[in-house]
Symmetry: C2
Subunit: 246 residues, 2 copies
Amino acid sequence: MKIDPASTADLSAQIASAIRDAIVSGALIVGDRLPSEAELAEQFAVSRPTVREALKRLAAQSLIRTQRGAFGGAFVNRLSYTDAHAQQITTSTLLLGMNDISFDTACEARFAMERACAQLAALRRSPDHLATMRAEITRQGQPGLTDEAFCASDVAFHRALVDAAGNPVLSYQLAGAVEAMQPLMNMITFSARSRDAIIALHGRIADGAAAQDAGQIITALEELENYTRKLAQSVFDARATRANPT
Amino acid sequence: MKIDPASTADLSAQIASAIRDAIVSGALIVGDRLPSEAELAEQFAVSRPTVREALKRLAAQSLIRTQRGAFGGAFVNRLSYTDAHAQQITTSTLLLGMNDISFDTACEARFAMERACAQLAALRRSPDHLATMRAEITRQGQPGLTDEAFCASDVAFHRALVDAAGNPVLSYQLAGAVEAMQPLMNMITFSARSRDAIIALHGRIADGAAAQDAGQIITALEELENYTRKLAQSVFDARATRANPT
DNA sequence: AGACTTTTAAATGTCTGACAAATGAAAATC
DNA sequence: GATTTTCATTTGTCAGACATTTAAAAGTCT
């Protein structure tokens, strides 16, 4: 592991990059202990604070974990689904929030990916997944539910559908996409009638999963996508009219 | 922005978390300048090195960028697709590399997502995308190509298919999944015959895109998935036999 | 007055040295 | 032999200093 003395970049960034490369390439494997901060400082010929900044960068990506005390140090971390998932949600949420991505684009991406697991979900859904879906549908029908709680339940419902596909890699990828949509969905005010429509579509999805009928799930998802986009459109139109009345 | 004095977690982690929350929640928006390190140190009642460690954590996630000099400082960064993409590839690659995920699981997830954009790709593919796909197919047929170069071209081909869907959110999500598979794919040695089979399938995908026939793309992708899994299986079987000959 | 140069203040980047706190191993004690 | 104490190691945090970069502000010349 070496750094380029000619580079103008921050030393801590260079050091972090060197160690990251060693981990990604497999030169350092899960559980390996990195040299102590003092040793790293000597190896890279920098001071300990600089090394520490580099290590904090890696810790922010869950690449390492640190432990105090004798025989402590920095260890290469096993990236868990939970960690990866959390990072993906942060990244996706910010990406959607900062880049003026249209509701339609985000919606299209989300439902395209969700349809991708319909086939597998129909094949592998367990009674557990079905029960979760039914429970969320019931919750969504309860009176007095706030829009936010309705959205949260919506996310949980779709999360169950994704998990039903029984592929952890798919779950990790899609859960990020679905959850990142939530702030956008939260902008919509759901009338009682639109809630009923969504709940009916959720019911058809759950029925399709129960019957192991992928076609039914996909059809319902397509209708849900169209309905969601129409709903969002009307919200945006109403806002535009309020802001700019003729 | 406050931190909990009772928490046992690292101060730098707490400070990073507080600032991150402010960014994700929208209290700090793109382009906003954070207080200087000295001011932050005073606000949080910690030393400057501790503040710096917190800022480096945020920089590692591309949440902020720093600028030296007068009127410099730390600014909330617009998370670009490029940054998000790079992070996703690192995360996905490590997740796949560290967690003993079977080739089949990863392969299934990848092709499920890729099929999800077939419909959109058939609808929106531009001459540019078609040209890229054709060019990669040509490259793949060249003699003397190393296995690694073949894999890289394979990734480029599928990347073009994903981009053809014309949805940046989808591209960001899927590019990570496809590229993260590359180290796994690199374990396979491609015989001339298997290369020919893959190239033929790529040709059918490109033809389907050219004809705007989503069904053809999906069928070819399914065959490609099956073929890839069969190929990987034979590689693993051969290894098992070598390691444990009867 | 306007264009160019110099100065300067503010900010990050880096270093040194120090102490606190945690932690597990080893030594001492019962 | 079991328990307690000591101790070395390592990370976490702090204080203060200097180097470097940067753009605004002041100064200078035409």
